[in-house]
């Protein structure tokens, strides 16, 4: 290999290195967290379906306030959308009617955060997963979220991604989320995730006849910020049970790790091939 050719190979390797460095540096930055995550316990055995949480949520987020007296809404299975960040659904089970509140689950290692290419989705140190204005509206977070929670305001030219933010603004001021505050039957409990898990376990141990011995969200997708306990199996009340225990961002890790390897080795290898075949032809 001539000196110039060597230089070419070296240069392309170097530039590849710098670009790939860009891509893996801090790749998994959101793992480390000095503060403790907060969490909300949803005790479905206590929920009476009054929808006060829906009203409080809409009120504190400036959305259209629903009418809690309207009981016809329970006839269909509702989903959250860009105009309501939380909904309560009714399920007929062998233990009678069970009401289940749904909203963003605030995963400990969220897929949407790993998906976002401008870091508009952030996992805050306090636990909430929040969205910010530098989003470009690619909606990759919607494709990735295992719970389908991010929703987009399609009817605006400059819409936002909307979803429950665990009332981040209230939490940093030391208040509890609006829905928790509004709940009249203490179906919702707010605290650090560790305390919440302990409380959930305590309830299950002290009333083994009421609860099934499982905390939904303790291990699902490596842990979520909303935890559910219930008297009936969770697939009966509409929570997805096929998600597995692996953190969703980990599915992308093998690919992300192969990027610098390919960017470094491929060009050098290709150039080598080029000079080899060139000599051969002459």
């Amino acid at each position: 290999m001539k000196r110039r050719e060597f230089l070419k190979v070296a240069l392309s390797t170097l530039s590849a290195l710098s670009i790939s460095g860009l891509s893996t540096k801090k790749a998994m930055g959101f793992y480390a967290c000095p503060k403790e995550f907060h969490a909300v316990l949803v005790d479905t055995t206590r929920c009476i379906g009054c929808r006060s949480c829906e009203v409080a949520c809409a009120d504190s987020h400036g959305l259209l306030i629903p009418d809690p007296e309207d009981k016809t809404v329970f006839k269909t299975l509702r989903k959250t959308d860009e105009k309501r960040l939380t909904v309560v659904n009714r399920f007929e089970t062998e233990k009678g009617e069970v009401y289940v509140k749904t909203q963003c689950m605030h995963c400990c290692q969220p897929a949407c955060v790993a998906a976002c290419l401008v870091k508009a989705m952030k996992k805050r140190e306090e636990g909430p997963v929040t969205w910010s204005e530098n989003c470009m509206g690619c909606r990759y977070c919607m494709v990735s979220c295992p719970f389908d929670m991010p929703k987009f305001e399609y009817d605006k030219a400059f819409g936002r991604i909307v979803k429950c933010d665990m009332c981040y603004g209230r939490i940093i001021k030391g208040k509890v989320p609006a829905c928790v505050e509004a709940c009249p039957s203490e179906a919702l409990t707010f605290g650090t995730r560790r305390d919440i898990l302990n409380e959930a376990k305590r309830r299950i141990y002290t009333k083994p006849d009421t609860y099934i011995p499982y905390i939904y969200g303790e291990k699902e997708v490596a842990g979520t910020g909303f935890l559910y306990i219930s008297s009936v199996p969770f697939e009966k009340i509409g929570l997805p049970t096929n998600l597995g225990f692996k953190a969703y961002p980990e599915f992308t890790v093998p690919f992300l790790y192969s990027v610098p390897v390919i960017l470094i080795l491929w060009p050098a290898f290709l150039l080598g091939m080029h000079y080899a075949t060139k000599e051969g032809r002459k």
């Binding site: 590849a16 998906a115 290419l117 401008v118 690619c138 494709v143 009817d155 819409g159 080029h274």
Partner: protein
């Protein structure tokens, strides 16, 4: 001392004025050249124009409308199906279709496989145009369009996102392709010096471009890694990125085969003698490559299938759809390619290429909308709206228009000849005919010696 200084100053000034004038004349000449070249060549009222022009106009209208009204005007994307055909078709299918550019660049510039040289420029041009137009499709699809530069200017760098990598690699690859194609432009404008400089960058651009292509072709598949619970298990596999990369090779080659069939029909007047002579041979070699690449892709598909133990899902309508894709649109065309090249039959090869392209379309649509959220009932599923389809067709038509414009003007289909000094022909009266390159001087010298 002073005198000299003043004189040099003066001469510098004169020199500058002279240079500026010179440049001005050049620019003026170039402008005239450009205006002349911008005029359409050939007939205007061709069937192609008559069909595509209204589509382009309508598409542009819809695009502008939806840009100012928000995505719900004109598109059917929903909370359930956030990605429609702009991403699911234009990008997901368009990128592997443009894969021919990196495959041919690899064969010609890296492996020195000279046989494909005549078609490499057209393919790179096509690839570049394709990418430029996906960028526009992405722009149309974004919900917050004016933030499109955020991942590039660092507001903020989402380095842990596969989409971030894909976006950057897209951009850099477009640059690489531009460099690969630029010598042709320089030749067209007549800037020989510039062309030499640009040509010397080709190899670097190719090598870099191939690495980038490897990554973003597979990266597009990587986007679905986190849609694990949404994709039908027959399609989800940890090898999606590899499968996307492997399938982009036969996809790219098939598109080249179709492209060359069409351009041969319509642009043969622009093609060099040697290309037309070798046309059949090139075709056969493309088919050989495609047969092999397609078979490798099939093999990987089977490996992924076995690895995921997916056979339990085969006995269902989805299983039939899967088998149709993998056997009917991958294995069959692979054999057809082989068969066609053995019999040297261009029609079979063309048919196989079209089948392969169909297979890629079906495969990518499966990932982006058909097997994606397969559990959602039919009534809530995504179907592209009329406006979306029009915009998509308009994008493709515009691309074809530009391709035609360039091929009709720039030396796309000429083998870049080895640098020869300008031929000077002089008449040699002693011999009674002209001789080139100062041959007559050598001749005279030799004659004297004799």
């Amino acid at each position: 001392m002073d005198q000299i200084a003043r004189n040099t100053e003066k001469s510098w000034f004169l020199f500058l004025v002279f240079k500026l004038l010179h440049l001005g004349i050049h620019l003026f000449g170039f402008l005239i050249f450009l205006v002349r070249e911008l005029k359409p060549k050939g007939k205007i009222l061709t069937p192609f124009n008559v069909i595509t022009l209204p589509i382009i106009v309508a598409g542009a209208f819809f695009a502008v409308e939806h840009m100012f009204e928000g995505l719900s005007t004109g598109t059917n994307v929903s909370q359930e199906f956030p990605w429609g055909i702009f991403i699911g078709f234009n990008v997901m299918v368009g990128v592997p279709f443009a894969g021919g550019a990196y495959v041919l660049a690899f064969l010609v510039y890296v492996l020195n496989f000279e046989k494909f040289h005549p078609i490499v420029r057209a393919t790179v041009l096509n690839g570049f145009l394709a990418y430029a137009f996906y960028a526009s499709a992405i722009f149309l699809d974004l919900g917050r369009k004016w933030n499109i530069l955020n991942p590039i200017i660092g507001n903020e760098f989402g380095v842990n996102s596969i989409l971030f990598l894909v976006a950057w690699h897209f951009l850099l690859y477009m640059l690489a392709e531009l460099i690969e194609f630029s010598p042709t432009v320089a030749e067209w404008v007549g800037l020989e010096r510039l062309k030499k400089i640009l040509s010397s960058m080709t190899l670097g651009a190719c090598v870099f471009g191939i690495a980038l292509s490897t990554l973003h072709q597979s990266g597009l598949g990587g986007l679905f890694m986190m849609a694990k619970n949404k994709l039908h298990p027959l399609w989800y596999s940890e090898f999606i990125p590899m499968l996307f990369f492997a399938s982009s090779i036969p996809a790219g080659l098939s598109v080249v085969i179709v492209q060359e069939t069409i351009t041969r029909r319509f642009f043969s007047h622009r093609m060099s003698e040697s290309y037309l002579r070798n046309y059949d041979d090139i075709f056969i070699w493309l088919a050989r490559g495609a047969a092999l690449a397609l078979f490798v892709y099939f093999f990987l598909k089977v490996l992924a299938f076995i690895h995921e133990k997916s056979w339990v899902h085969l006995w269902s309508p989805w299983g039939a759809w899967f088998l149709f894709e993998v056997i009917g649109l991958v294995l069959v065309p692979s054999f057809l390619f082989h068969f066609g090249q053995a019999r040297r039959d261009r029609r079979i090869i063309l048919f196989a290429a079209i089948l392969t392209m169909l297979g890629i379309i079906v495969n990518r649509l499966n990932y982006s909308m058909i097997a994606f959220k397969w559990y959602v009932p039919f009534s809530e599923r995504y179907f592209p709206s009329l406006q979306e389809i029009t915009i998509t067709l308009a994008i493709i038509s515009t691309q074809l228009w530009i391709f035609r414009w360039v091929v009709n003007r720039m030396p796309v289909y000429e083998v870049p000849h080895v640098e020869e000094p300008e031929t000077e022909r002089t008449f040699v009266p002693e011999l009674g005919f002209t001789m080139a390159n100062g041959g007559e001087k050598i001749l005279k010298k030799n004659m004297k010696e004799v």
